[in-house]
Symmetry: C2
Subunit: 177 residues, 2 copies
């Protein structure tokens, strides 16, 4: 294993959102599994319908020129409320659900991971100078933005996707039927 040096990032902006705390924290107050599922589904529906702002540092405004031509963008951001200790976790029950088998962190979308750079593709509603308005973005208010890219078919679209049963189940339960 060759040694690689640490990498330093400087956030290029910040998320301004009505979401003030992460979903799983919000759902963990002694609810039953069914109550939690309902709460998560309602949260998911609310997030999907809501808009929020990506406030890019004015020094980088010019880098956004041309992004208006894309219907969707990819946002890389940092879950700043994660306790650094959580980055040492090795396995978790997906979404904290004890009814689903424990998985290695790299097999989950858990924000608690060695390098918690989160990635989300969202519709771009509009750009005004250094501010992008996006829809359905789950990041918590104040999350540092690491990068913004156009949604590129060649890097992001896949064919014949197969997921394990536990993730299929989560998708079924979260999506509105």
């Amino acid at each position: 294993m060759p040694k690689t040096s640490p990498i330093q990032l400087t956030p290029v902006g910040v998320v301004r959102s009505d979401i003030k705390r992460p979903m799983l924290t919000a759902g963990e107050s002694g609810l039953s599994l069914d109550e939690r599922k309902d709460s998560i589904k309602a949260y998911h529906r609310r997030v999907k319908a809501s808009e929020c702002e990506l406030v890019i540092d004015p020094q980088w405004e010019e880098l956004l020129d041309g992004i208006e031509g894309f219907s969707h963008i990819l946002v890389l951001y940092w879950p700043h409320l994660i306790d650094p200790e959580q980055r040492k976790l090795r396995k978790v029950h997906p979404m904290g659900r004890k009814d689903l088998p424990r998985q290695g962190i790299f097999a989950t979308c858990s924000p608690a991971r060695p390098n918690p750079v989160l990635v989300s593709a969202v519709p771009l509603v509009n750009r005004k100078n250094n501010i992008l308005t996006v829809k359905g973005f789950e990041a918590v208010d104040g999350s540092p933005i690491i990068d913004v890219k156009p949604y590129s078919k060649s890097y992001l679209q896949v064919e014949n996707l197969i997921m394990p049963a536990w993730m299929e189940q989560i998708h079924r339960e979260v999506e509105d039927s």
Copy 2:
């Protein structure tokens, strides 16, 4: 603009690939535009068909448990051959092509960007202990791996994608017809 602190990442692995230098470097030796297009198309075809390895640091091996259940994964990696000076670029001709209008860096997939964390969704061919074999992954040999995630429909799939004309053109020219 609230001040945000720098973020430190420690690579979790390294790419082992037959690709020894980036495509655009390879294509820039006094070729005509048509010759470059042909060269890029051939390069793209070769990459799509080839396999390479993601060698995860053995200390993180357990975090991969369960990833075998996914047909596709998302890889976040660092283009280590990028000169730090290039991270200050503001606008570029996409893929270095003077025939396409200059775009802000955030509107392109250029690896030269303030925080060059590159993202690619690729088919997972197999896992053996701490080594993942993937297909069609464009990273150069030796690239540090920042994160590996399952391909999640809810975070990565979009509907009714619209791209600007210049990117449609690149896609048309790179894909085999």
